[in-house]
Every structure is written in C-alpha cells, then in structure tokens.
Symmetry: C2
Subunit: 176 residues, 2 copies
C-alpha cells in the first residue's frame, strides 16, 4: 500500500462527533503506529520542500502533532499558532468566524520576519477558516505563504478555494 492508502486505512471514522450527522476523522490510530507516523511526516516533507519554506507554522493543537516532526524533517523552525491568551510574549492576533460565533488565534510577533516563506500546517482542512486566519496573520507580518500542508482534506467543504488567494501550493495525504 502507498502511504496515502495506509493513512486512510488507519484513520477511524467516528459517527455523530462532535454532533449528530458529522463523521469525524480520528487520526489518533496513526499516532499509535511509529512506522506510519514517520512515513507520513517524510511524505509531507518530500512534497513541500520544493516550495522552499523557511518556517513551519502549526495550528493548535492537533497541528502540533505532526507539525513539529515536519519542521524537524525539513530542518527549519517551528512556530506555534495558538488560541487567544495562550502565548506568553508579544503577539499578533486575528478573529475569524466559525459556524457558530467567532474564534481568535495568535502568533508571537517576533516569530516570523518580513519576506520569509511560511508553510502552514494543520492535521485537517475542513472549511478552511482557521488556515485562512493563519495566512492572514502571516501576510500581516509581510511574510509569504509558501503553501498549505494537511494530513486530511475534506474536499467536499471546498476549503482549498478559500486558500488559493494566498498560495496555489497545497497538499493533503488523505482526501475525502
């Protein structure tokens, strides 16, 4: 099997989470499998390195799981984007809309510099709202979005369309 097939085989569908009618893609079985975890990270690194990223930004909290390993596989720094109020130093923040209400994410203001090429990573792309907000934080620092890298893309939610305005570079290893 290819790594993409092994990932799809490993992901567990959980019905009616977080609410009735939703089928949640549970990645925790991947974390139980060292070989698959390493292959996943190496596969992502192989695909994104041609975008020449200077740093990986990972979105709290599932974006921390593979994001740190990805940054280290690429030998570039890892920058966490976190929910409001969690990062201790000077931050830049952005509010964005969720299905119900709004959320806010933050990044340390000194974490990225103008003109750096930033790879945005999260485990899952759904509607793209969070990744879009992350891209706005990066553009706000006058840095470039090198591309987007997800493990899972729920393509029927058309998240990629929202992100194309920042970069046409995007990959996901398991598309539904």
């Amino acid at each position: 099997m290819t790594v993409e097939e092994r990932i799809k085989t490993s992901i567990r569908d959980v019905h009616d989470f977080p609410k009735k009618g939703i089928v949640f893609k549970d990645i925790t079985p991947i974390l139980m499998d060292n070989d698959l975890t390493l292959e996943l990270v190496r596969s992502m690194a192989e695909k994104v390195k041609i975008w020449n990223p200077d740093k990986v930004v990972g979105i709290e909290s599932r974006g921390f799981l593979f994001g740190m390993m990805l940054a280290n596989e690429l030998s570039i720094p890892f920058v966490p984007i976190r929910k409001k109020g969690k990062l201790p130093y000077d931050t830049v923040s952005i509010d964005y809309e969720l299905e119900y209400g709004t959320a806010s994410i933050e990044m340390h203001a000194d974490a990225i510099s103008a003109e750096e090429r930033i790879l945005i990573h999260d485990d899952l792309l759904a509607t793209g709202g969070t990744a879009d907000a992350a891209a706005q934080l990066i553009k706000g620092e006058n840095a470039e979005v090198a591309g987007f890298c997800f493990v899972i893309n729920l393509s029927f939610l058309n998240g990629i369309e929202l992100l194309n305005k920042y970069s046409l570079n995007n990959i996901s290893l398991a598309t539904y």
Copy 2:
C-alpha cells in the same frame, strides 16, 4: 554547553504572564532551533528508556510538541490526553482541581491496556495537578506509570512530591 544549559539559555522568561507576579517559562525559542530540539528529545529518550515504557502519553497541548518526537525517538506509540470534549471516540475522563475551579482531561478508552508501562510527558511540571490526573487515568486502566518526563520543573512548587506515589521515576532537563 550541555543540552540542559542550552535549554536554560534558550527558554525566555516572560514576566507577569498569565498574571501579575508570575514569571512564565516560554519554550517557543527552543522550537525555533532544530539542533536543540533534536538534542532535547534525544536527551529525554536516553534518560527514560531504562524505565522500559510501552507508550508515551502527552498532555494537550504543549505536551504534544516534544511528546510525539519522544515517542518516535523511542519507537513506541503516542497517546494524546486532551481537554474534555476533544477526543472523538470512547473516552475515560477525570476531573481535577486547579488553583481556581476545576478542569477535566480525557484519554481514549482503547488507547492503553492493562499492565502496559506508560510514560507521562508534559513540557512543564508546576504543582503537578495535571500530571497527577493523567496518572490517575492510567491507573484507572490498570496500567503502570513507567515514569514522568518534563522539559521544565518548577521545583519550588514541589510537583514531584505529588507524583512520587505513582512512580519514583522522573526527569526534567531544566529545573528552577
């Protein structure tokens, strides 16, 4: 410099976070330094492997950063412990007391098995309340606590004393 000295040099003190009078130990500069990140993870792995852990449990969300890399360095599975309502499958959960109010953490019920030896990892040990709760989750599954592994120990808060009843095995790389 030793890895411990390099970690202490890299950690940034942020005063009055999350509230006045507290000096917060900011680990994000370590994440910017690939060499130090790898040395940190390898140093932790070297110290804990003699406890023969079967799995690493990492506590959301900063425990995900080095926890995943530690599990992979040890070639054993990674199990996330998350805040209530985040894990999609059947969970076991526990409430515990914070300085103000209570919190609740969860683990997938099928993530660990009876008699397995579980290494508990978080980035920072303060009063030990969260690590204590994680240990209770593990004991509740009739598994063993192989030990505790932190990057930072705020030893003046005596967190280790709270954890000794589960295991005398504990390490931290930067003690204050």
